[in-house]
């Protein structure tokens, strides 16, 4: 088991290195002189020169990459070109809303999607199944910001239940924070729910055909018990897998949704920094998001052992 976890951690290294190289090389995709492009039209030659120096653009590519990677590994992400603040500090400042939003989204998505998928599989022709499957296709067909604006239009502008924008920090109380994030979290979870509900339904349908489910019925167990204790547990592996894979959709959704709701989180920071070409911040954030994604999926692999005793590492 420990060997397996170590092995997986090691296997994550080449992936993350490739991501790092990719992120690093993004800069060399910039046409012309990156320093000029990044500095923008109104920059003075001195500013351009400063940027060139701060990015060490006068050094050879490989040397720059090695130096940069070394800095990344030691936690030195450089300074923002826009504000001059250290990137690590920016991340610390902005991480709270994003963490809360991501957690809320996962909780909402899993608690809604798994029961929906379960019921849809158990009553495949029932009204819940039809609505869930229709809702799932809709979830795949709407950009997250359209969902967000739809929610804003109805629940914020129309009913006035939630704020249109504005994030209430945790320091002012958990309830306020959660309330301010309800609409964003629901918006982000829409696609996630669609993904998880569909996979849950398919996995449960497959398990329902298994002999041991027939055995459970032959034992006279109540249907609810069979579904929770026997069926869901056996359908867990694909469901956990999609929760991990769908995490990428969640991170992307966070970037867009934080922009829509003006939430001062990492997603907003990412979008703004990309548009401002605040290169060190973009590099660090993409690397951070990718690391989180890889870590989540590593956790998923380890979770398999907990749900299925046949899987041994």
């Amino acid at each position: 088991m420990i060997a397996y976890v170590l092995g997986r951690l090691l296997a994550a290294i080449p992936v993350l290195s490739a991501v790092a190289a990719f992120v690093f090389l993004l800069l060399s995709l910039v046409p012309g002189d990156p320093a000029v492009v990044i500095a923008g039209d109104l920059a003075t030659p001195e500013q351009v020169e400063a940027i060139r120096r701060s990015l060490a653009l006068d050094r050879p590519l490989v040397e720059r990459f090695v130096t940069w990677l070394g800095h990344m590994l030691t936690g030195d992400f450089g300074n923002s070109l826009f504000s001059g603040i250290a990137v690590s500090e920016l991340i610390v400042q902005r991480i709270e809303p994003t963490l809360v939003l991501a957690l809320m989204t996962i909780v909402i998505a899993v608690t809604v999607a798994v029961p929906l998928g379960l019921v849809s599989a158990y009553h495949p022709t029932g009204i819940v199944a039809r609505l869930t499957m229709a809702g799932a296709v809709l979830g795949f067909s709407l950009p997250v910001f359209v969902v967000a604006f739809g929610l804003v239009y109805v629940f914020a502008l129309g009913l006035g239940w939630f704020p249109v924008q504005s994030y209430v920090p945790l320091s002012e109380g958990l309830a306020g924070t959660l309330h301010s994030l309800v609409l964003p979290a629901v918006a982000v979870s829409f696609l996630y729910i669609a993904l998880i509900a569909r996979v849950t339904r398919a996995a449960v349908l497959e398990v329902l055909r298994e002999d041991y489910v027939r055995t459970a019925h032959a034992k006279g167990l109540a249907a609810r018990l069979i579904l929770t204790r026997h069926v869901l547990r056996n359908a867990a592996v694909p469901v956990i897998t999609i929760i991990g894979i769908g995490f990428a959709a969640l991170l992307g959704g966070v970037v867009v949704t934080e922009t829509v709701f003006s939430i001062p989180g990492l997603g907003r920071l990412t979008a703004d920094s990309i548009l401002r070409r605040d290169y060190p911040v973009v590099q660090a954030l993409i690397l951070l998001f990718s690391t989180v994604y890889v870590a989540v999926n590593l956790a998923v692999d380890i979770a398999y052992v907990l749900v299925d005793p046949r899987i041994r590492y």
Binding site: H123, V146, T270, F289
Partner: protein, 301 residues
């Protein structure tokens, strides 16, 4: 005792549904979803192709008649500078579907090539799949906006930026099909008989994987249109003066309370197209995957 047996019904059940064409015809008759979604898609394709003739100039400003709700003369209302939302929505279809189509083609061509190389040539497999893992580890939206924002928003860059995050999924799926297919007796026979690599790939492996590739391409088409809208919305997509649905929605957001139609109509158009493409993909997927017959025992109701 008389026993009524519907022998003809089972007979027909066995006989029908042999060829794909016959199955397709039956599907249309029995699947209204398929009929409606292909109808909607065809309508939008027609609009996209004919928008120069169907719609007026999407750029005509008419500030005195700004933020007017839908009416008999302005079916979809006007936006914040008095432009016709109807004209702009029609033009937007051209851009949205165009990007979707271009990305689907790009992703399919590149993804199939990469997948076949990875699946067929063992040596290249590890390196290619690690690289694909790396691309997949970056959220698609981030990757695309980063590419567009840094390189500049030309149509080519936008299509590339949206294709890059889609390629790994296509490549992985093709690779998986190739790995399965190359173990099949008929492919192995072709290899044993000394068949040339490219002819084995073309004659045996590609046709075998064509179905899943088509379905995946459909999903790519749908998600590319969504991604394009998101890029435009974030300001990293098509240039602001282009009437893409994403740009229209980005501009309409400030007027959500005052003039919801500015955001609403392009959103509706996008939702309808993407929905019908996704439904088509689902239908094709179901046709490829013969559903398992229910067993005699089972308590599900």
């Amino acid at each position: 005792m008389a026993i009524t047996v519907s022998s003809d019904s089972t007979g027909r059940g066995l006989a029908r549904g042999r060829s794909l064409a016959a199955r397709t015809v039956r599907f249309v008759a029995h699947r209204p979803v398929l009929a409606v979604s292909s109808g909607i898609l065809l309508l939008f394709v027609a609009v996209a192709l004919l928008s120069p003739w169907l719609a007026g100039d999407p750029g005509t400003l008419n500030p005195p008649r700004r933020l007017k709700p839908p009416s008999a003369t302005q079916w979809f209302g006007t936006d914040h500078v008095g432009r016709s939302v109807f004209d702009r929505t029609l033009w937007g279809a051209r851009i949205s579907l165009g990007v979707g189509f271009a990305v689907a083609i790009t992703t399919t061509v590149v993804g199939v090539l990469v997948g076949i190389v990875a699946g067929y040539f063992r040596l290249a497999d590890t390196v290619i799949m690690r690289a694909m893992d790396a691309v997949m580890a970056i959220p698609a939206i981030l990757l695309a906006i980063a590419l567009v924002a840094l390189v500049g928003s030309s149509p080519l860059v936008i299509v590339t930026a949206i294709s890059v995050p889609e390629i790994p999924r296509m490549a992985r799926m093709v690779r998986a099909s190739v790995l399965v297919l190359r173990e099949q007796a008929y492919v192995e026979a072709a290899i044993t008989c000394g068949g040339r690599v490219h002819s084995i790939l073309l004659r045996h492996i590609l046709p075998g994987a064509a179905g899943p590739i088509l379905v995946q391409a459909t999903y790519v088409f749908a998600s590319a249109m969504i991604l394009e809208a998101i890029l435009s919305f974030l300001g990293a997509g098509t240039p602001p003066n282009v009437p893409s649905w994403g740009n229209m929605m980005a501009e309409g957001r400030q007027y959500l309370q005052l003039a919801p139609w500015i955001l609403g109509f392009p959103a509706l158009g996008l939702a309808l197209v993407v929905l019908s493409v996704n439904l088509l993909g689902d239908v094709w997927r179901d046709m490829l995957d013969p559903s398992l017959a229910p067993s005699a025992a089972g308590v599900t109701r």
